[in-house]
Symmetry: C2
Subunit: 228 residues, 2 copies
């Protein structure tokens, strides 16, 4: 479903040069729950941003459904993202002027749904992440973990083929984290939604079908729970 071939990402700031990813190869198969683990600064978010077509590699290719993505015009890559991908950002990236309900509803405005279907889906997603009572709060009127759960609900509500989740449980207590992982596991089983997580959290790794360890922009090791 998604493939990174010899992907590198360099950042240049003035005189300094950071090689965040170095010739990385990774294939994600449909229906997997892949966990990308590694120290702070090892390149996890950079890799997820490339897989989510939110940034372009300095060299190498990203293939989505076998199709090359690098020369896509902006409009077409935005359309592919909106149809196939759901993205949960490490810093949530919610719209500050919209409340929780409106933030979750926003991506559905680009999908062919009636107003009633849209609103039913948003209330369903709010129930999944246990935030019905704070649906009218804006992001600055929510706790850290509540903002994170709004970002999760927003990625689930469009029923994407693939969800990329960058540290989705960082701000959650054990019960909320367990609840979120159960919702994702259920989507993976019922709708075959593919998940790629970047995480430090053992509670997420517990649900992974494959673990990929990255250090300093290079994949160190891949394997199932038992082998890593």
């Amino acid at each position: 479903i998604l493939e990174a071939m010899e992907v590198s990402k360099d950042y240049t700031m003035g005189k300094t040069h950071v090689q965040a990813l170095k010739g990385l190869n990774l294939t994600i198969h449909s229906g997997e729950m892949v966990c990308i683990m590694g120290p702070s600064g090892s390149g996890k978010s950079t890799l997820l941003n490339l897989l989510g077509l939110l940034d372009t590699p300095s060299s190498g290719q990203i293939l989505l459904q076998g199709k090359a993505t690098q020369n896509l015009p902006y409009k077409e890559s935005a359309q592919m993202r909106s149809r196939f991908l759901g993205f949960i950002f490490q810093s949530f990236n919610l719209f500050p002027v919209l409340n929780a309900f409106e933030n979750i509803e926003y991506p559905l405005l680009f999908h062919p749904l009636t107003r009633k279907e849209r609103r039913d889906r948003v209330w369903g997603a709010l129930s999944d992440v246990q935030l019905r009572e704070v649906a009218l709060h804006r992001p600055d009127e929510l706790s850290g973990g509540q903002r994170q759960r709004v970002a999760i609900a927003r990625a689930l509500v469009t029923h994407p083929l693939l969800i990329l989740a960058d540290e989705p449980t960082a701000n959650l207590d054990s019960e909320s984290a367990e609840n979120i992982m159960t919702v994702m596991q259920r989507l993976n089983q019922s709708r075959k939604t593919t998940f790629v997580f970047s995480t430090h959290d053992p509670r997420v790794v517990h649900h992974a079908s494959r673990i990929v360890k990255i250090t300093d922009g290079v994949i160190q090791h891949e394997g199932t729970q038992a082998t890593v």
Copy 2:
């Protein structure tokens, strides 16, 4: 050193009313490492903001060093904060236009130090959090965990009596988290720095001298590691 007496905090948004804290009593003694734990939305950040004099309670009092704080003019409470307190925010709150070095140096500009003393302290803090190589990066050129460590270094560098840390390890891998807790433990032993953490992370709780459990704005239970 810090005392909350019958503290309540209400938020009113339009017609809805949220009681984030309900008549809470808490005393923090000098030299303690206190962990405030509780589910997402239970009131941890609200409590830390009141203890850090960043917000005022709807009712009740906060005493700092035995002195009432509610009628302090803005300038005096800012001075008390700058002298006594270090604060690590859940969303880091770094200045986007300053690089990591300048963000950490910023609070020292209000302290009576020579330029050399200031810069030595900042490089020392960058070493403590293992970020010397990215000192010139701005926040948007740093990873999530790197931004969190800049926020930690900024709170340590003024050598405050008390550090309030809201989820300080949420975005950190085990090694970075362990390293941060060792730095804090060292400050607690060598300089008797008092710490109040809000956390979901067992790696932080492991270092606590006292655990306070909060649910729905009410303290459920207090005790040492063994009793909770």
